[in-house]
């Protein structure tokens, strides 16, 4: 039998071609960026090289990582405080549809509300420290994850619950062994959207008012006409988002081994 894990020669060749294409796109982006730097001057558009050097320097000095650490803790804390009740609430309310119906217009309103517009309000309430950023992340994360989980619980296959009950499962077993695992893909889908958004929310709150964090670095760089500093901070924020996505992908792969493999996102469908 053929080993299914080893790609056949044509597949390998096309994969190599794709990697080359990726490098090519990367090179084009860097070239365009350099062209912009050359045309407008480093004062307006910092060069890729200067950004790379500054990035390494500020990572080495620990300054960049310290600010990234603040932003990351705000986002992580907010995701935790907002995400945990957002997952638990639909699971606990599964047998109480009336309560879900009562909450619904308020949740829909919260979901649709422009949460980022609340940032000044949170600064009024919690000051310019970490608390106001965490509060903003909490409101951003909570509603997204709540509706994602609720969708998962609602889409639950009633026949699986019945089967489990016939096999002798108590309500507790049903909640733990049927409802929760069935909702996990939806919960993940929620966090996948909520976490990058939460990191962005922390950065935005720092942009408005803060004395530390990546948003503060951006604002500070702009104030000193230091475009290199601005770019480095934005790059770091983007890397945080990518890291969060990679971690979630790895967790999802582990937790959802039982699912048939699905197509990647931007698949062409041809």
């Amino acid at each position: 039998m053929i080993d299914a894990t080893a790609p056949s020669p044509p597949v390998r060749a096309s994969r190599r071609r794709t990697h080359l294409d990726h490098l090519l796109v990367f090179a084009i982006i860097i070239a365009l960026w350099s062209l912009a730097t050359w045309h407008f001057g480093t004062y307006w558009v910092s060069s890729p090289w200067a950004v790379a050097i500054r990035f390494v320097e500020t990572v080495a000095s620990g300054e960049l990582l310290r600010h990234a650490g603040y932003t990351l803790s705000e986002a992580a804390l907010g995701t935790l405080i907002g995400g945990v009740p957002a997952v638990l609430l639909p699971l606990l309310l599964r047998r109480h549809p009336v309560v879900v119906a009562i909450l619904d217009p308020f949740m829909v309103g919260g979901y649709g509300a422009p949460k980022l517009a609340f940032a000044p309000l949170f600064i009024v309430w919690f000051g310019i420290g970490m608390e106001s950023k965490v509060a903003l992340v909490v409101t951003v994360v909570f509603f997204i994850v709540y509706f994602a989980t609720l969708n998962g619980v609602r889409a639950l296959d009633a026949r699986l619950v019945q089967t489990a009950q016939i096999l002798g499962a108590s309500e507790r077993h049903v909640a733990r062994s049927i409802v929760l695992p069935a909702a996990i893909p939806s919960i993940f889908a929620g966090f996948r959207i909520a976490v990058p958004y939460g990191i962005a929310a922390a950065v935005i709150a720092e942009l408005i008012s803060a004395n530390r964090g990546l948003g503060y670095l951006v604002q500070n760089g702009a104030m000193n006409f230091d475009t290199t500093g601005v770019f480095v901070a934005v790059l770091m924020a983007t890397l945080l988002v990518q890291a969060a996505i990679s971690i979630m992908n790895a967790m999802e792969k582990r937790l959802l081994r039982w699912r048939p493999p699905s197509e990647p996102w931007l698949e062409t469908g041809t």
Partner: protein, 272 residues
């Protein structure tokens, strides 16, 4: 613990009259409790933290009467609509162009996914250096925020067009124009609304955040201006305006969608 059957059937069962009353009563009670909590917060924490509901209402009335509310809303909507339109055009056209070449799609995929993760608002301070404090920096931010939403939704939409339907139509001899109108258009319509429903409120919200950072007018300017002079009533009134504006837009878009997609079962889409 009792073993009542835990099917979702009890959720789907039609609400009886008493149940309807319970739900409406519960909603009214919860709304009252929220306002009471607001009032209580104003009394215990002081007007610097919590503007009392009455004062907020009076401020809203004053803003409505002197015309500032309308001019701020119009200023915000102007940028939001312009950014939405530009992003909409590129976000729809690019996927159609990319669709022709799977290789190009694969080539740009990592770049798209990476740049999508850039917190676009963080570019605002740099854009202000470039463009000054006019509408331009906000417009760029709004366009970037909306572009990715439209791009991803359209891409998913194109992929979702059922190829079997198209080849079936070819087999029975439908013209390409007819196929485009009958199959591609109707298949894309739900995605178009999904994109619109997600992207337009997001454009408004992005404009408001842009106005926090740089502006001379608009709803966001009003909120941030009030915060900077510790006018908590102004912050509350501004947030209420922003909330009402976006929720009203959501309601209108939902209404339009329900009307246009009468043939489809209703579902709540995920936010992108």
């Amino acid at each position: 613990m009792t073993d009542v059957p835990a099917t979702m059937a009890d959720v789907a069962s039609p609400p009886t009259a008493s149940r309807k009353w319970l739900i409406h009563g519960g909603r009214a009670a919860l709304a009252l409790a929220l306002i009471a909590g607001w009032e209580y917060g104003a009394r215990t924490l002081g007007p610097l933290f919590f503007a009392p509901p009455i004062e907020t209402a009076q401020r809203l009335w004053a803003l409505a009467v002197n015309g500032q509310m309308l001019s701020d809303i119009m200023a915000t909507l102007r940028v939001a609509v312009a950014g939405f339109a530009i992003a909409g055009i590129f976000g729809v056209i690019l996927p159609f162009l990319l669709r022709r070449s799977p290789r190009a799609t694969e080539a740009v995929e990592p770049a798209v996914l990476f740049t999508m993760g850039i917190p676009k608002y963080a570019l605002a301070p740099w854009l202000i250096l470039w463009f000054g404090i006019g509408d331009m920096p906000k417009l760029v931010v709004v366009t970037l925020v909306v572009f990715y939403i439209v791009f991803i939704t359209t891409f998913a939409g194109i992929r979702g067009v059922d190829r079997r339907l198209i080849s079936m139509a070819r087999v029975i001899g439908a013209s390409e124009r007819r196929i485009a109108r009958e199959i591609i258009w109707t298949s894309l319509l739900p995605f178009f609304f999904t994109g619109l429903k997600i992207a337009f409120p997001r454009a408004v919200s992005a404009t408001i955040v842009g106005e926090f950072l740089v502006s001379t007018q608009g709803v966001g300017r009003y909120i941030e201006g009030a915060r900077q002079v510790s006018d908590t009533t102004g912050v509350f009134a501004g947030v209420v305006i922003a909330l009402a504006l976006v929720l009203a837009i959501n309601a209108v878009l939902n209404g339009i969608e329900r009307w246009a997609l009468r043939w489809q079962p209703v579902e709540r889409e995920m936010e992108l």
